[in-house]
């Protein structure tokens, strides 16, 4: 793959995301935070995000794909348990689960 192709790909991807973002702002001009459409968009947005998370944890690509399903699922459970056990501490839950994940993959 030539470097010229990479730069062109980055440019094309940038234009794509910038256009989408601008169109998002334009489309939102008449949407009120109290309207049914706004609530539907909120639901779809969080639905998409949860779908992304499930996919990353269960069907990952790249480095995470090298780890076992057991390590990914068990450390996800650890993150949730820590979060609810320690007054919903986001930082603690994320750090403990990441350290657990590194340890599980190193020793098991």
């Amino acid at each position: 793959m030539s470097s010229q192709f990479i730069y062109l790909s980055i440019l094309a991807a940038s234009l794509g995301t910038y256009f989408c973002r601008a169109f998002g702002v334009y489309s939102a001009r008449n949407i009120s935070t109290d309207s049914p459409v706004f609530h539907w968009i909120k639901c779809v947005s969080i639905g998409v995000i949860s779908a992304v998370i499930a996919r990353i944890i269960l069907f990952p690509e790249g480095i995470l794909g090298e780890a076992t399903s057991f390590s990914r699922i068990s450390c996800t459970i650890i993150a949730l348990v820590i979060y609810f056990s320690f007054k919903k501490n986001v930082l603690l839950a994320v750090i403990v689960s990441a350290i657990s994940f590194a340890l599980v993959n190193h020793y098991i």
Partner: protein
């Protein structure tokens, strides 16, 4: 770094953030802000800034929300650029075990932030269905499972619990 990590572990067809932009723009809208600033600020909209804004926006006056978001999103965006450069420069120094742990931070952060924002039944339903449908649809339409699962889950969650919406 978050974007690079997310691209590394997730599907190549993760949908663009237009829905997130549609979800956050009405919240931070300010009639006194010129349109070009609104279009420029759309580049600061990402999952992290969206989650954080939704967590705190009810405690902020409407006229201050746009400025608050520019500060929040601008900091996160700048931070991501600096961390991407740092990640590129120091990637050889970090051992593989630590790298694996760092890659896992991204989905865990998204997961915990998602859970922390679940207050309404329609959102809880959308999240549970989104995750379940994504897993099921991955066998049939792997490239589009995330987008289709999200739209289906959000629509079902909204339809089932729209009567429980508390109007502000």
């Amino acid at each position: 770094m978050q974007l690079i990590l997310l691209n590394d572990v997730a599907s190549p067809k993760i949908p663009p953030g237009k829905k997130i932009i549609l979800a956050i723009t009405p919240v931070i809208r300010n009639q006194n802000v010129p349109k070009w600033k609104q279009y420029l600020t759309s580049h600061f909209i990402a999952v992290t800034s969206w989650f954080n804004m939704f967590t705190v926006h009810q405690n902020i006056k409407q006229e201050d929300k746009f400025d608050y978001f520019v500060g929040l999103g601008g900091f996160l965006w700048t931070n991501s650029v600096v961390c991407t450069i740092a990640g590129y420069l120091f990637s050889n120094v970090v051992s593989h075990e630590i790298l694996v742990g760092m890659v896992f931070i991204n989905p865990m952060y998204f997961l915990i932030m998602t859970v922390s924002n679940l207050k309404e039944k329609m959102m809880i339903c959308s999240v549970l269905l989104g995750a379940s449908l994504s897993i099921i649809l991955n066998s049939f339409i792997p490239g589009w499972s995330v987008l289709v699962a999200g739209i289906l889950a959000g629509s079902i969650g909204y339809i089932l619990f729209k009567k429980e919406i508390v109007h502000e």
